[in-house]
Structure formats: C-alpha cells, structure tokens
Amino acid sequence: MTANKPIYHFQVGDRIEITSVELQDVMRRRLLDLGFVPGTVIEVVQKSPLGDPLAFKVFNTTIALRKEESSLIYGKKVYKEVV
C-alpha cells in the first residue's frame, strides 16, 4: 500500500487515485466539477521547470493546477488505466 500524499508530489507518468480534496467552498466546487473527485484516477502529464504549475490528465482533458491547489488534493499511486 502506498500512502496518501498531495498530488503535487507525484512525478510525470504517475497514475494517482484521488482520495480527498481538502479545499473549501468555490474552489472545492470548481475542482470537483473539473473531475478531481475522490475515486477518480488521474495522471501527471507535465511538470513546468519549477514544478508549478503541474498538468494532469483528468477524464480525457488536460488540466493545469497551481501548487496552491494541487498541494491540497490527496491521492495514492495506482497501477490502473486512466479514463
């Protein structure tokens, strides 16, 4: 078993199952709407030179998140296909 950690800390190519979204209010709503829902498997597709922002593939769409957000979304590494 791998431990849950902020999705900010994963590497390009990693597949992550989201375990929790520790943001509140409008930002939380927004991220859920974009597909960052617990149980969903996402993939890290690109990292900028300084590591921020980070791009994820979520339900077939690439979404870039700043560290502010991606450090508050938790997940664990998995070895299954991303939708």
Partner: protein, 243 residues
C-alpha cells in the same frame, strides 16, 4: 409565440456547430446583459413549430463559479427554456454527464444529445442509448452535428416534446440522509415564498451549498413583476407543457 430551446453542455462538445446547423443563417449575436459573454440566438422552423434557439456558453458546471456558468445557469433556471438540449461528447461521456445531471435537477424538459458519435464510432466506443435514456429518464439521441447524423430524429423528438407527447422522469441524485433531511425541511418554506416558479429541491440544494450569489439573483428575480403572476401557476408538469 416561438418555443425556446437552449443548448447547454461542456466546452467544445459541438453546441455551436449544432446551433449553426439548426438555425442556418437566421441568427443574431450580442452580449448577455451586463456580461462580456457572447449570446447567440437563432430561429429554427420544423414542419410543425417555430423555435428560438439559444446557444449557451460551454461550462463544466452550472454552479456559477464564473460569468459563463452564471449566464448558463440563470438562463435555464430563470428564463426556463421550453426544451434544454444537453450536448455531450460521446467520446468523453463520464465527464460530460456531470452537467447533464445538474440540468436534470433544474428542469424536466431536457433531451440528451450525444454528439460526436462519428468520432466515437471511429474510436470503437459504443453508446448504449436505451439504458442511458431509461436511467436518465429523458430522451437520448445519438448525433453528429458535423456529419449531420441523427438530426431528423432530434427534430422529431423536439416537436414531440413540445406537443407534450413525451413524458420525462428526470433522474434526481439522492444525497445522504443528512442532506435529504435538510432538503425536506427547506422545501415547504421555499415553496411558500416562490410557489412553483422555481424547482424547490434545486433551490434548497443551493442554499445548503451556501451559494450566496444565487440568493442575490433570487432576490432580484422575486422583485420582478412577472414573477408575481407566475408564482401561482401550477407546477411545470414534465409532460404537459405546451400541450
């Protein structure tokens, strides 16, 4: 008076392509009042009816996190189009159904247009139309706005819905016990204030979500003279509108 059809859905699902196909050259564009969001409106004539079609901005959600979402939400909830076409991408159905479920919490008169069916077929994606329609409780039409597939079927379904010949039973998400209990408590109070003018369950959910901006829109809606007349009208029946 012309019936109204709104096109809603995620960005890039082909709403404008469908809009252009349906309305041809009979369009006019401008901005939504007070917003820098483009508003496109056009006319559609079928064999039996005349419609005004409104192309809503593409959004991932209708919870008003942005000007686009607010425009789309306010149109569906306050302007109450006779029919809402939810345009979804056949190759990315799971993501797209989020907004479809949100629309079904707001209106009974919706049709799911599964667009880009040509693209889906190329990718070997098969859409099980009947079970999807059964589960969502609304008609599901497989279309390609670009390749002009399924459009006749869509127009037929639009006319039938307008004539009250289609009974929908929109799927409503059931929330956990705590939330459902609170909805039950709020609903009668909401109905007392706004009658049947807006779906009480949806308003209750927005209040529970702490959607302050909606409460502002709601207040101005309640002060609108048209509202007073509407409050006492019978509830919007799923099937009988315009019948």
């Amino acid at each position: 008076m012309a019936h109204t059809i709104a096109l809603a859905g995620n960005p890039n699902t082909g709403k404008s392509t469908l809009f252009n196909l349906l309305t041809g050259l009979k369009q006019h564009t401008g901005n939504w009042p007070g917003k820098t969001v483009l508003r496109a409106e056009g006319e559609l004539k079928t064999e039996k009816h005349v419609y005004t079609v409104i192309d809503l901005p593409g959004t991932y959600s209708l919870y008003s996190n942005s000007a686009d979402e607010e425009v789309a939400r306010d149109y569906i909830i306050f302007e109450k189009p006779d029919i809402t076409l939810v345009v979804v991408d056949a190759t990315s159905l799971e993501r797209n159904l989020n907004i479809a479920l949100q629309v079904l919490e707001m209106t009974d008169r919706a049709i799911l247009c599964v667009n880009l069916i040509d693209e889906a077929r190329k990718k070997g994606i098969h859409i099980d139309k009947e079970p999807l329609s059964k589960q969502l409780g609304i008609p599901v039409i497989l279309i390609s706005a670009r390749e002009k597939i399924g459009i006749i079927q869509l127009l037929k379904t639009i006319d039938q819905m307008t004539e009250g010949k289609i009974e929908t039973q929109p799927f409503k998400i059931k929330y956990n016990q705590t939330v459902e209990k609170k909805i039950k408590q709020l609903e009668p109070q909401i109905k007392q204030i706004i009658g049947n003018a807006l779906p009480a369950r949806w308003v209750a959910l927005r209040i529970l979500d702490g959607d302050i901006k909606l409460l502002d829109s709601l207040k101005s809606y309640l002060q609108n003279p048209d509202f007073v007349a509407e409050k006492h009208q019978p509830a919007q029946g799923g099937c009988c509108h315009g019948a």
